[in-house]
């Protein structure tokens, strides 16, 4: 079996296993098993890659040096025309020397990986100067794992290979989770049992973790499904049906930020077709939101509570008592504006900074969550700024901008499905990521981060020229 096929199998297995991995008998029943599964995926990818290097037969006399330039050097200088280079690529591909043919234009690896590598390099620097290098080194390891999976996914997807499997398998896992959260909300099936001392909605976790994480995860999956329905006319019904189930799961999770991020992504998706469509969608989404809030009892109650909190000036309660971590993260960013307090150290630094925030804003002491030790800010913009400093935040925005830029071309009518998928997904996914990060933590949640990374890699691999 070829190396790329093995890595493809591991990548596909990862997309299925990470959203389903749980350890019901553990305190950390959801996050740790997913982290462990990601580590297993990375170890297997690394082992396959190194094994292939060890086992690769030496045929230096027959093969050109590795890489794009190497293949061009295979030709006599006078014959290095684009047509001849394409012909050579086709030959090498047919001979099994060089994987599937690449999409025209710059190599996806050349286009997408440098930004991610610079971000990781900055993470390493921030780890060296961190307030707690030991804790930061674990986060750096998580960053390396994420980059390895990103590059592996990108590499196996180049040329539109395994298009359907790479798109549909993660969505199948998401559809399963959507079905589970709906059944949990309806109290039909509670796979992890029930606890009388915990509110029912908070126990509707699917296999993901908590309702907020379920909402973030399903928002990404629903948007991907919609983009696939736009891109793939032959399978439009299937993707549309999947999107309906995922949106139902998203509504069941009652996560307002995730819903807002999904709507923002949908508007961006329709804007890629035409601005008129986008305005219409915005209008319909607004009306649908009003109807949903008016008809679904939990949403109606929550909207009423929020309006009352706004009227009475209880802004912290309006933001579900998240102003304390926001203030603590802002103080961290002010203290160390360039490098931040270090990757993954917000939770470790929260204790002293929370006390400082409460000294500065005494009203924060009235929060019901005063005793809660926030491990994450619940706002990835502030989290990245606090932990990675201004440079880290600029690189975070650069990663999102690089993703969104993939959609910046004229029209997609003449493209094959993988390229159309990349065109229709990249910008909406970037918009969703930006909005979702305002009050959620997709980067801090393995299952959401890896779903975004998976589809970002596919967008980079299938980017239209």
């Amino acid at each position: 079996m070829k190396t790329s096929s093995l890595i493809l199998a591991v990548v596909l297995l990862g997309t299925i296993c990470i959203p389903l991995a749980v350890l019901p008998q553990g305190f950390d029943a959801f996050r740790l098993p997913k982290v462990a599964t990601l580590r297993a995926e990375v170890i297997l990818i690394a082992a396959i890659f190194v094994g292939a290097l060890v086992l690769r037969p030496r045929r230096d006399d027959e093969r050109p040096p590795a890489g794009r330039r190497g293949r061009q050097h295979w030709l006599p200088k006078a014959e290095r025309t684009p047509l001849a280079i394409s012909a050579v690529r086709a030959q090498t591909s047919a001979a099994g020397h060089a994987g599937p043919p690449e999409a025209p234009g710059r190599s996806p690896l050349v286009a997408a990986v440098p930004v991610a590598c610079v971000a990781l390099a900055w993470m390493a620097i921030a780890t060296l100067v961190s307030t707690n290098p030991a804790v930061s080194s674990w986060r750096l390891a998580a960053g390396v794992s994420t980059l390895i999976v990103f590059i592996a996914t990108l590499r196996v997807a180049v040329g539109g290979r395994a298009y359907l499997a790479l798109v549909a398998l993660p969505l199948l896992a998401a559809a399963f989770n959507a079905a589970v959260v709906i059944l949990q909300e309806l109290n039909v099936w509670m796979p992890f049992g029930t606890r009388p001392d915990v509110r029912h909605h908070l126990q509707c976790t699917a296999f993901i973790g908590n309702p907020n994480e379920v909402g973030s995860y399903l928002a990404v999956a629903a948007l991907v499904c919609m983009a696939a329905a736009f891109a793939d006319a032959a399978r439009r019904r299937w993707f549309a049906a999947g999107a309906a189930l995922l949106v139902a799961g998203l509504v069941a999770s009652q996560t307002l930020t995730a819903f807002a991020a999904f709507i923002a992504g949908m508007i961006a998706l329709f804007a890629l077709v035409s601005w008129k469509h986008a305005l219409r969608v915005a209008l319909i989404a607004g009306l649908a939101a009003i109807v949903l809030v008016a008809t679904v009892a939990p949403l109606r109650q929550r909207a009423g509570q929020m309006a009352k909190q706004l009227r009475t000036g209880r802004y912290n309660a309006f933001m579900t008592d998240r102003l304390t971590p926001f203030a603590a993260a802002s103080l961290m960013a002010i203290d160390r504006p360039l490098t931040g307090v270090g990757p993954g150290t917000f939770g470790w630094n929260y204790h002293p900074y929370k006390l400082r925030a409460e000294e500065r804003f005494p009203d924060l002491r009235k929060a019901w969550s005063r005793g809660v030790n926030f491990g994450v800010v619940h706002n990835d913009h502030l989290q990245v700024l606090a932990e990675g400093g201004a440079v880290g935040y600029a690189l975070f925005l650069a990663c999102i901008a690089t993703l969104g830029a993939i959609s910046l071309r004229r029209g997609a009518a003449d493209l094959p499905p993988p390229q159309r998928f990349a065109f229709f997904l990249a910008l909406p996914l970037a918009v969703l990521w930006l909005v979702l990060s305002l009050a959620q933590f997709p980067l801090e949640t393995v299952v959401v981060r890896m779903l975004i990374v998976h589809f970002a890699a596919l967008c980079a691999a299938w980017r239209p020229s």
Binding site: L23, A36, A47, G347, R370
Partner: protein
Amino acid sequence: MLLLAAAAAVSLRYATYLPVVCEARVTHALRALTDAADGSAAVQVAAARAAQSSLSACDCLAGSDFKLMYVRGTALRYLGDPAGAIDAYHRALAVHRRPELYLALGLAQLEALDRSAAIDSFAAAGAFDPAQLERIPYDDVRAEVEQRIDQ
């Protein structure tokens, strides 16, 4: 290739298998220690010994899992080793500075007859979460901690 397979197997054990197994063991040990908290000294010692024995393979994760060192510290307190418990709690605090860890550290320091350090630790817990002060077993210590926080 054998070397590579061995390296992959070792990596999978330490990065995947052990964290998951140890999470389950820590959860079980912590429940047992919590249940034993109101029991007799013999029950506490039995729970502590069982916890120590089940977590013996998990020490390599101490640098990343504060719960592990919290359980270790509580077990050592029940076994009458407050110095060991203080060391374990300090290692847990190096990973995550949580109020309940400061409270447990203060209790171990009281048992080690280091009252001033215990007051500092209780104050760190109480300033973050005043509800933690109710768990201080001595009224005079609690009053001193409240005074320290007010200052």
